[in-house]
């Protein structure tokens, strides 16, 4: 067993035995070798389920929403992006800091499980890192109560907007055709929304057909309305964990739109990385006198 997993299990046992937490949320091995999936354990005996490997990409922080009304404290393991997601939920007033015990794990980057699903396990080493991980700037948890292992050097210091720039280089018609093709594939399962830590509205307009904003007719135009509205709503709050496109069954490059927003926000309001701390207000969530106002 790898030393990180060993330490995860030890800590989980310790926290559950001492009663400091009522549950621990981590990862367990899934059905196939390329799947590691969220698990919640409530007793020390179950600690041996916990694992750490290159497929632990599911972001665990959002599961805390299911337990926000619980009395006790819940422990979760956080990679860099889980920690940013945790800050996201804190800053959005969805959870309370003292009700979570965060065990940080510096993350070497997770493999692209969709690529992995196409090959045999023997070819595991050839599977590339997930796209968001390739240019990750925050592999080390930005918030934690306890850290396992030692911090790693980030793969990048500057955000990688090369794909966004390629999109910007298209003509409007080309760009429109590109998104049309992508959004035609959307089946409106809302997995992207449900996996996203920034999508934490208790009542989502897309779950309420009576709100009148969108019908349940699945066609390119309504799918696009959904995609653009969601991207706009998480703009300035996206923590770049890439869960949205990792869970998309239709392989829509959802992060591309999110990154376009991040790039525009950086250009308009100055560089901003969401979820790094909870004190800096989100760029679209507050008003400054020197905000650009060329549209006025």
């Amino acid at each position: 067993m790898n030393p990180i997993a060993q330490e995860m299990q030890n800590i989980a046992k310790e926290l559950l035995t001492s009663g400091e937490v009522t549950a621990v949320i981590g990862w367990e091995k899934g059905t196939f070798w390329y799947q590691s999936t969220p698990v919640m354990i409530t007793s020390a005996e179950e600690a041996d389920k916990l694992i750490w490997d290159e497929f632990c990409q599911p972001n665990l922080s959002k599961y805390l929403l299911d337990y926000r009304l619980n009395e006790g404290k819940v422990a979760i393991f956080v990679k860099g992006c889980d920690a940013r997601a945790f800050n996201r939920l804190l800053q959005d007033n969805q959870i309370e800091r003292q009700k979570a015990y965060l065990i940080g794990i510096p993350c070497p980057g997770m493999k692209d499980h969709k690529q992995a699903a196409l090959v045999e396990e023997s070819a595991k080493d050839s599977v590339p890192l997930a796209k968001v991980c390739q240019s990750c700037r925050y592999p080390n948890p930005v918030v934690y109560d306890r850290l396992i292992g030692s911090e790693v050097t980030p793969r990048a210091t500057e955000p990688d907007f090369s794909d966004v720039m390629a999109l910007e280089a298209m003509t409007p018609d080309e760009r429109y055709a590109f998104w049309q093709e992508q959004h035609t594939k959307c089946i409106r399962c809302y997995a992207c929304r449900n996996a996203c830590p920034a999508c934490n509205c208790r009542n989502c307009i897309f779950s309420d057909s009576k709100s009148g904003w969108i019908s349940k007719d699945v066609n390119t135009s309504e799918n696009q309305f959904y995609a653009i509205t969601r991207a706009t709503h998480v703009a300035g709050r996206c923590v770049e964990c890439g869960q949205c496109e990792m869970v998309c069954p239709s392989n829509i490059p959802i992060m591309l739109m999110n990154k376009k927003y991040i790039k525009d926000i950086n250009d308009l309001f100055g560089k901003y990385d969401a979820g790094i701390d909870i004190d800096t207000p989100t760029p679209l969530g507050h008003y400054k006198l020197d905000d650009p106002e060329e549209f006025m």
Partner: protein, 336 residues
């Protein structure tokens, strides 16, 4: 049987496309699904024959959104009008794996239930020729054999033609009159031969469903649901990619004084699914919803129609974002 060389696939599809609208599994924009052959050619998409598609062929019979009737309302007046059929030509779908053929058999139970035959569904079924492909290269997520799917012979209440993969050739055997006509249309491309049904490779996943509905009928209040519900994030992926999930919603699409009543796919995992006008929700949380989905597949449907609402196609094992695993569930339930 008519045996046709695989090299002649394009000729075969072109021949069929003259008298039918041909539907094939294909990959376009990084997604595999069943698409009209014309669209495949137009988009230069790749026909995918060596594995099953991410999206099942159920949309051919139960589209994700489908108009049922149109209406016009102004002041106190109301008019309701039928919509025209959207099927101009006979369709032929080639090839459908036996798991997905079984999926159509499940849909038939519901929509062709004698008590209320669904006209729109019936029309689509009657105007579609299903060419079933015996699939002898199972993936690691396949478990159709365990779910009672005959891997050598497709369910012949659904399949019109049985296709066998002989390696470098396909063998076609008509199972119905509709199927016979389709085979006639491609006969010239091959030759009549006697063919031995190829052997099927064993599937890695094996699961025991004997006595499962009876067992589950006593497990509604079991603690198994407490642990099984945890991973679920309440999205509709499982229901929408599933070849058998058929639950639908009825809603409106309105423009001015006119509107169309739509039938759209729905998922019992969505929080709005069962919410009543007064605010009461009989399945308020993910535990109740996960339980309903699994019990519908493995117990309720069996009680109503004597078959499982799961064909072992393995799509949800691969695509559930958080890996809520129905096989693992069955194994744990059996162990109780």
């Amino acid at each position: 049987m008519i045996v046709i060389d695989k090299n002649k696939l394009t000729d075969l599809l072109d021949a069929l496309n003259q008298s039918y609208q041909v539907i094939v599994p294909a990959k376009s924009a990084d997604l595999t699904q069943f698409m009209p052959y014309d669209a495949v050619k137009e988009k230069n998409a790749e026909i995918i024959l060596n594995e099953n598609t991410v999206l099942s062929p159920k949309w051919l019979f139960l589209p994700q959104s489908e108009g049922m009737y149109a209406f016009w309302a102004k002041n106190k007046k109301l008019e309701i009008v039928d919509l025209p059929s959207d099927l101009e030509k006979m369709r032929i779908v080639f090839p459908v794996r036996h798991c997905d053929v079984q999926g159509i058999a499940c849909l038939d139970k519901v929509f062709l239930d004698e008590r209320h035959v669904d006209g729109q569904y019936l029309e689509k079924r009657e105007k579609t020729v299903v060419m079933a492909l015996m699939c002898n290269n199972p993936k690691d997520s396949c478990f159709c054999a365990s779910m009672g799917v005959d891997r050598a012979h497709a369910n012949n209440t659904v399949a019109d033609v049985q296709v066998y993969d002989l390696g470098s050739e396909y063998a076609f055997e008509a199972l119905s009159d509709k199927g016979q006509q389709a085979v006639e249309a491609i006969k010239a491309l091959g030759s009549e031969k006697t063919v031995a049904v190829p052997e099927v490779k064993e599937q890695k996943i094996k699961v025991n469903i004997e006595g499962l509905p009876e067992k589950l009928s006593g497990m509604f209040y079991d603690s198994i649901w407490d642990s099984f519900m945890f991973k679920c994030i309440g999205c509709g992926t499982c229901a929408f990619i599933c070849p058998t999930c058929y639950c639908f919603d009825i809603n409106n699409k309105i423009r001015g004084e006119e509107g169309v009543k739509l039938r759209t796919w729905d998922s019992c995992m969505f929080d709005e699914y069962m919410l009543m006008a007064g605010g009461h929700n009989p399945r308020p949380g993910k535990k109740e919803r996960v339980r309903n989905r699994f019990l519908h597949k493995l117990e309720y449907f069996y009680e109503n129609y004597q078959m499982m609402l799961c064909t072992g196609c393995g799509r949800c094992l691969r695509k559930c974002p958080m890996n809520v695993d129905i096989v693992k569930f069955i194994n744990q339930a059996n162990a109780k």
